[in-house]
Amino acid sequence: MTYVDTAVGRGDLESDLAHSIPRRTLGYAEGDLASKRIVVGFGFWVFLISDIIMFSAFFAAYVVLVDNTAGGPNGRELFNLTSVALETGCLLTSSFACGVASIGARLRSNVWFHGAMAATFVLGAAFLTLEVRELGGLVAQGDGPTRSAFLSAFFALVGCHGLHISVGLLWLLTMVAQVYAKGYRADIMRRNLCFSLFWHALDIVWVALFTVVYLVGMRQ
């Protein structure tokens, strides 16, 4: 472990470590170290991959338990593909809008950034509303997570994704507030990078989810 490893960006090096590191080491590090944006982005990327690994465990549980309906309804009887298609459309365009927002941020364009973020939020909230309505309807008709192992696994998987979306929506609001209050500062842009990574990753999880749970489920 060297100073080089612990350094997370040149700005930090200059402020915190400059006095304790010989000039020569610093010069060497300056030429080779990744920028803070890259390190933060990579770190968050690793977190997202671990999150996806966690989702894969929920997927594995669902795939194993999908036939254990305990005499209750199976996916074919419960799922409404129109609603799922709407949800998919919302989340996909929301993901696209999030990408547009990151372009807007790079352009320092308030119109593009805030406009695209608003679209991201509205579409994400629409997705969440549809999902909550679907799950709430299932619980209301007695097909809640306690009905069968299949429904337990279904609620765990879909609910976990929905929870991620909810957290993402709150994060989105704080990003908008931070940009509004503090402008397009480097640290805030790093956070925004992480947010957009998070949002895109949730869309990837949803692709797996609507395929494995809904589309394949409808064929059984």
Binding site: R10, G11, E14, D32, A34, S35, K36, R37, I38, V40, G41, F42, F44, W45, V46, I49, S50, I52, I53, S56, A57, F59, A60, A61, V63, V64, L81, A85, T88, G89, L92, T93, S95, F96, G99, V100, S102, I103, R106, L107, Y184, R185, A186, M189, L193, S196, L197, H200, A201, D203, I204, V207, A208, T211, V212, Y214, L215, V216, M218, R219
Partner: protein, 393 residues
């Protein structure tokens, strides 16, 4: 954006995930990438939704196609939204992703494989499961094989000798009392009966004639005795008539037992003729057959022609227990009997007798146990191999 951050942004060696290659900061290029990603995603999603509801494609291939489409769309998201590419500046991101994919494949593939194998190995037949549930998994038991023993046996032996002309019963044939099971060649007995019948007929005719003579002599004697003629010649005729009457009476008396003898001989011959038909004396089931067509049989042989087990409302199952199991079994223990002929059906009985047997060399069988089971439908047929599980306390 501070100067240093801008410089960082142009770092030549690496790219943050989500960032486009920073040395060409072309907004329109980037927008084009997002639009392309959106377009491809919409195309793939629409295809997936169409496929899931279609019957145009061979059914079993659809889930596979859906998974392939999903993986393709994830790739589209990674490349066009997350900007994870194979370019050298994205190596770290790709490596992390590859590791993540490896773990995901291990978790998903391993789970499905292991759980599928366990599911297959856990499969328990419904009958076994019910037996476990009914007996209680915790109760102990002794299981042994045996044969359903008949309640009462009737041996059919020949009373006459003869050549077997037909065999109508076999092992497992259900018979009624009086039902013919085999027939001997009866010509000999028919001839005897005919001969005896003729003899009886002629003897009876002769007897009738003698009796007619007797009644004639009797009438003659009575007429002479009643006559008022007391002359010596008349008296002599009366004595003559009396002598004739007595002679006729003696002849009749001598003839009568002869007829009786002939009649009983005829009866005997008829019985023998009847005995040429081998019939079952009782309702039941044939458990043994020792006769075959064309065989000559004679009375007094050791082996009966047939053995018939009587029908009964109670079946007895005789099983042999190992020495190690005998100690656990008590009279009155409940037992569950199963036979191969009625799979899944269980007959309940209880231990009614325990008969110790001398252990013979080579076997460790120590006792015969009789299990008595109600058998109102006669399903537990004598001679059927059966399995008994004695529930021990």
């Amino acid at each position: 954006m501070s100067l240093s951050e801008a410089k960082n942004h142009l770092h030549p060696a690496d790219t943050a995930p989500g960032d486009q290659r920073v040395d060409r900061l072309d907004i329109f290029e980037e927008l084009k990438s997002y639009l392309l990603g959106l377009g491809l995603s919409i195309l793939l999603t629409a295809t997936a939704f169409f496929l899931s509801g279609t019957s145009l494609v061979w059914g079993p291939s659809i889930p596979v196609a859906l998974i392939v489409l999903a993986i393709a769309q994830m790739g589209v998201h990674l490349v066009f939204f997350l900007h994870i590419t194979t370019a050298p500046d994205s190596t770290n991101n790709v490596l992390a992703l590859a590791f993540g994919v490896l773990i995901v494949v291990l978790i998903l593939g391993g789970t499905v494989l292991i759980m599928a194998t366990m599911n297959r190995n856990m499969a328990v037949s419904a009958g076994t499961m019910r037996m476990h549930l009914e007996n209680g998994l915790g109760t102990r038991g002794v299981t042994a094989r045996g044969v359903v023993a008949p309640a009462a046996l009737e041996a059919i032996v020949p009373r006459v000798s003869g050549v077997v002309q037909s065999v109508d019963c076999d092992v497992k044939t259900k018979v009624k009392a009086g039902q013919t099971c085999a027939k001997f060649d009866a010509h000999r007995y028919e001839a005897v009966v005919a001969e005896k019948t003729a003899e009886v007929k002629s003897a009876r005719a002769l007897l009738e004639k003698r009796e007619a003579d007797l009644s004639k002599a009797k009438a003659d004697l009575e007429r002479r005795e009643a006559s008022p003629d007391r002359r010596p010649s008349a008296r002599g005729a009366t004595d003559k008539a009396r002598a004739a009457f007595e002679k006729a009476r003696n002849v009749v008396e001598a003839e009568k037992p002869k007829v009786g003898e002939l009649e009983s001989a005829l009866q005997n011959a008829e019985l023998n003729l009847g005995a040429a038909n081998i019939v079952s004396p009782i309702d039941g089931i044939v458990v043994a057959r020792n006769v075959r067509l064309g065989q000559t049989v004679a009375p007094g042989a050791d082996t009966p022609l047939f053995v018939v087990a009587a029908n009964s409302d109670v079946a007895q199952l005789q099983i042999s227990l190992r020495a190690s199991d005998v100690g656990q079994v008590r009279i009155g223990d409940k037992a569950v009997i199963t036979v191969a002929a009625y799979p899944g059906r269980e007959f309940s009985g209880e231990v009614s007798q325990i008969l110790p047997v001398q252990p013979t060399g080579g076997t460790d069988l120590a006792a015969s146990v009789i299990i008595t089971a109600p058998n109102p439908d006669g399903l537990l047929e004598p001679g059927t191999p059966a399995m008994a599980r004695i529930v021990t306390k």
